[in-house]
Structure formats: structure tokens, C-alpha cells
């Protein structure tokens, strides 16, 4: 806490970001599911839904290529628990109360807590791409497309991580933060993650997937992987991620100011 006294915003961010990154990587219980779960489901879905590529007009003949984009979203979903859970622990342990006695800025606190998830998202998404390429997937937009996929995964992780931070600041409870993860999982299930929207058989599900923002978050990296450069798909995905980030950050800011006043 003493390190934060009288420092600039950048320096405060640096200290808190370093703490967030170190804390995330010190907990194998946190890292392993983030790395292993999306890879497990990628492997299972690639083999289990291989026959989906036989559906007329399916956009690729390799389901692993199709499913890769979902892994980027899953790593983003984990960031809810990493950043939000970390902040909730700080609130419960009284660390945030001690921070509020310093000249620490709220922006530095929020961005610092997101740093751990950001680094985790970049490392995980590079790993998923590498594994998928080894097992026969391809990226139509090439190396630059792969880089943009990693950046999109980072953006989604920051957006979902900020939902976790908002939940932590509003409730101050790690359990409340954990509730957000299954809700995002449900949204992912009712999106176009398994089959392209135009090929979904059931009309009601197609409608749900169309109004579900998660579909567009999945379709943005998928467009790079399968079609190449598709400005519309990328634009929609980026817009939704930025909107989530902006919205949750403004809520988080309000909750933090109120919390600091009370403290």
C-alpha cells in the first residue's frame, strides 16, 4: 500500500497490474481451468461434431477450424472469476479499504485488476491457436488474422473481466462474482457457437442466437479464421465488446466512488 502513495496514474497502474499478474499466475487452481477447459472442449467438439461439416453450405470442412473461435470466448469468460474474484477477495480481506486511504485513483485500480486477465487471455489464445494449427486447423486471414484473433480475445477478456469487477464492487462477495460465470455460459450455449446462424434448424433458436450478443463476439474471430477479412463481422464483435467494457466501467466507477466515500 505504501508503494502507491504519491505516485502518478501510470505508476499506480504498474504496481497494481504487476500484483494482479503475479497473483493470477501464482494460483495453478486458477490457471489450469483457463488453459485446459477450452482445449478440452475444443478437442471434444472438433471430434464430436465433425459430422456437422456435412451439413450443406457449412462454411468449412474442418470443424476444429470452426470451433477455434469459441475457445477465445471461453478464456474471456474465465476472466470474470480472475479479475472479479481477485477484487472481491481484496474487498473481503480489507485490502481495498487500506488502498482507499492512499491517493490511489479508481481507474488505476480497475485497470490494474484487469491486467492479470489480459495477460492470461493473450497467452491462452496463442496456445489455442498453436494447438489448433498443429492439429490441422487453418486461419484464412493469415498471420495478421491470427494476431487480430488474439487482440479480440484480449478485448473480450477485458470486457468480461470488467463485468466481474463491477459485480465485485457492487456486492463485495466472491460468491456473487462466481454466479456471473454460469450466466455467461448460458449465453454462449444459446449463441451460434456450434453451428452458423443461417444453418440453425430450429427457428426459435435462430432468433435467440440472432439477438444474443455472444453470437457476434464468436463470429468476429471466426470470420477471420474461416472467411478472411470481414469488416462487418469484425465491427459488430468489436462494437459489442467495447460497449460492454464502457457500460460496466461506468457502473464500476460509480460503485467505487460510493464505496470509497463510505470507507
Amino acid at each position: 500500500v505504501s508503494e502507491l502513495q504519491g505516485q502518478s496514474l501510470g505508476e499506480q497502474f504498474g504496481v497494481l497490474a504487476q500484483r494482479s499478474i503475479v497473483r493470477s499466475f501464482r494460483q495453478p487452481v486458477v490457471i489450469m481451468p483457463v488453459l485446459a477447459f477450452p482445449l478440452f472442449f475444443l478437442a471434444v467438439n472438433a471430434a464430436g461434431l465433425k459430422s456437422a461439416t456435412d451439413i450443406p453450405n457449412f462454411p468449412t470442412d474442418n470443424y476444429l477450424t470452426f470451433a477455434l473461435a469459441t475457445a477465445f470466448i471461453q478464456v474471456g469468460m474465465s476472466s470474470v472469476s480472475i479479475s472479479g474474484g481477485g477484487l472481491a477477495e481484496d474487498i473481503q480481506s480489507g485490502f481495498l479499504k487500506r488502498l482507499s486511504l492512499t491517493k490511489m485513483k479508481g481507474t488505476a485500480l480497475v485497470l490494474g485488476h484487469l491486467a492479470g486477465t489480459g495477460v492470461m487471455a493473450v497467452i491462452s489464445s496463442i496456445l489455442y491457436i498453436a494447438v489448433a494449427l498443429i492439429f490441422g486447423a487453418s486461419i484464412k486471414a493469415g498471420v495478421a488474422g491470427g494476431v487480430v484473433c488474439v487482440l479480440l480475445a484480449l478485448l473480450v477478456a477485458l470486457a468480461f473481466g470488467s463485468i466481474g469487477i463491477m459485480a465485485a464492487l457492487r456486492t463485495g462477495s466472491t460468491q456473487a462474482v462466481q454466479v456471473v460465470f454460469p450466466l455467461l455460459f448460458v449465453l454462449l450455449f444459446f449463441s451460434s457457437q456450434s453451428i452458423p446462424r443461417n444453418l440453425i434448424d430450429q427457428a426459435w433458436f435462430r432468433h435467440v442466437a440472432t439477438v444474443n450478443p455472444m453470437s457476434y463476439l464468436v463470429e468476429a474471430p471466426r470470420s477471420l479464421i474461416i472467411k478472411g477479412w470481414d469488416a462487418q463481422a469484425l465491427g459488430k464483435g468489436v462494437l459489442i465488446a467495447v460497449a460492454i467494457l464502457a457500460l460496466t466501467m461506468s457502473f464500476a466507477g460509480g460503485a467505487m466512488r460510493q464505496g470509497f466515500k463510505e470507507r
Binding site: F40, F41, A43, V44, A46, A47, G48, L49, K50, S51, A52, D54, I55, Y63, V186, F189, F190, S194, I195, L199, I200, D201, Q202, W204, F205, V208, A209
Partner: protein, 255 residues
């Protein structure tokens, strides 16, 4: 068998059931499979349009997986509720008052089983509402439900065994993750002959595969793998009973 066996087992079961009702323990095993049913039957039904699929109705095909998931979740959530009794050492006091370990295990499994009956029947209704075509006869449909209930007994015993070794709510992921891995490496989305590469190999030796395939067969009135399915689930029950019993013995030996 002691004369006090059934009164003790029933007492433990009733206590567990009241705990389930108080903590709404039955909600996740009801809700999660229903979400899977809606998501898979709605989102993936296009995979059944291929002539190679070979099953008349995708909702019915997926429903048997949903039944398995309900049975598994019910067993695991019941075992997670049991960890409270281990954390506050209630179970140690019960052990002092009982002639053996078996009535405690049977009581815990009874509670999970009774909860599972409710869940399985609810899921059957949900399947019918979702458009599941169950063309098997009434006894054949009953066999499908019995497969689910026997699986629930096996999973409950597995969960109790893990809980007795970890003795805290942190046991939940240890119960759930292996179960999840076994479920998703069985023929969940499509029949086994349509699975690719490694998953086809793993599903051939996956103990849930005969249960799923038998359930899907009976659901449409075409019995399949009956002996193998019941043999597998009974072997799982025997194996996990030993696992739970040795866990209880281990707990009894410790101060």
C-alpha cells in the same frame, strides 16, 4: 444386518432430503440439464439431417444425454451437501451411534435416489414438451428411467467417496470434473459411428456409452446393449460402494 440398519438409513435419508429442500439443492440438477436440452435440441438439430445419422428424432437422441446429466448432477450435488456434515463433524457423531458404516452410506444414497426420481420424471416431462418422440412401450420407457436412476446411485457413491477423503466443499470440482470428462467423451451430440478420431476410440471404452446407447434404443422401442448397460452400471455401483466404504473406514480410523 442389524435391526437398526433401516431406521438409521431412513433417518439419514430424511435429514438429507430436508436439507435439499431447505437449500434448494435440486434446482441445479433440474435447471442445468434443461438448459442443455434446449441448447442442443435447438442449436444442433441440423446435424441429424444427414442420412448417416440413423436416429429418428434429435430431441429424443439428446434427451438421453440430458437424463444422464440430470442423474449425474443429482448425485454430485447430493454429495456436495454431505460435505457440510463432514466439515461440522456431524457425521463423526453419527458414526459413534451406528453399528456399522453401511446404513450411513445407504441413507445418503437413498436421499440422492429419491431426489433423482423427481428430477428424472421432471426431465421426462420437459423432453416431451420439447418435442421428444418416445415411441417405446411403457415398460421400455421405464427401463430408460431405471438406467438413469441406477447411474445416479453409482455417481452418489462416487461423490460420497470423494467427500469422505477431501472433507470440505472444495471436493465439488474433484467430483464434477472427472464426471464431466466421462460424459463429454461419450457419444453426446451424434451416434458413435459419426464421431471422429480419438473421440471414437475413447467412446468405445467409455462406461457411459452403453448406457446412452441402451437408453436411446429403449426410448424408440429398439432394445440395444441391454445386458452390457446394466452390467456396466451395476459394476460401477459395486466399485464406487467400495470406494465410499473405504472412505468411511478411513474417517473412522482417524482421531
Amino acid at each position: 444386518m442389524s435391526q437398526r440398519f433401516w431406521p438409521i438409513a431412513t433417518g439419514i435419508a430424511v435429514r438429507q432430503l430436508s436439507k435439499f429442500a431447505r437449500t434448494a439443492n435440486f434446482i441445479p440438477p433440474l435447471l442445468i440439464p434443461c438448459l442443455f436440452l434446449a441448447a442442443f435440441a435447438g442449436g444442433l438439430s441440423a446435424v441429424s439431417t444427414s442420412a448417416k445419422f440413423g436416429y429418428p428424432n434429435y430431441t429424443a437422441f439428446v434427451w438421453v444425454f440430458v437424463l444422464v446429466m440430470g442423474a449425474v448432477f443429482s448425485g454430485i450435488f447430493s454429495s456436495v451437501a454431505f460435505t457440510d456434515d463432514l466439515e461440522d463433524r456431524f457425521i463423526r457423531r453419527i458414526m459413534l451411534a451406528t453399528p456399522g458404516r453401511a446404513p450411513i452410506i445407504v441413507g445418503l444414497v437413498m436421499a440422492s435416489f429419491l431426489q433423482a426420481i423427481f428430477i428424472v420424471l421432471f426431465l421426462f416431462g420437459a423432453g416431451l414438451i420439447a418435442g421428444m418422440e418416445a415411441t417405446g412401450s411403457a415398460p421400455q420407457l421405464a427401463v430408460v428411467l431405471v438406467i438413469g436412476l441406477l447411474l445416479n446411485v453409482a455417481v452418489s457413491l462416487w461423490g460420497i467417496g470423494v467427500a469422505l477423503r477431501v472433507r470440505s466443499a472444495l471436493a465439488a470440482p474433484l467430483m464434477l470434473l472427472p464426471a464431466f470428462a466421462v460424459i463429454f467423451t461419450s457419444p453426446v451430440y451424434v451416434p458413435r459411428h459419426l464421431l471422429g478420431g480419438w473421440l471414437h476410440t475413447v467412446s468405445n471404452v467409455n462406461p457411459l456409452t452403453p448406457l446412452l446407447e441402451a437408453g436411446r434404443g429403449f426410448l424408440i422401442g429398439v432394445p440395444f446393449h441391454t445386458g452390457l448397460a446394466f452390467g456396466t452400471v451395476l459394476a460401477m455401483i459395486a466399485l464406487f460402494y467400495v470406494f465410499a466404504w473405504t472412505g468411511m473406514q478411513k474417517l473412522a480410523r482417524e482421531p
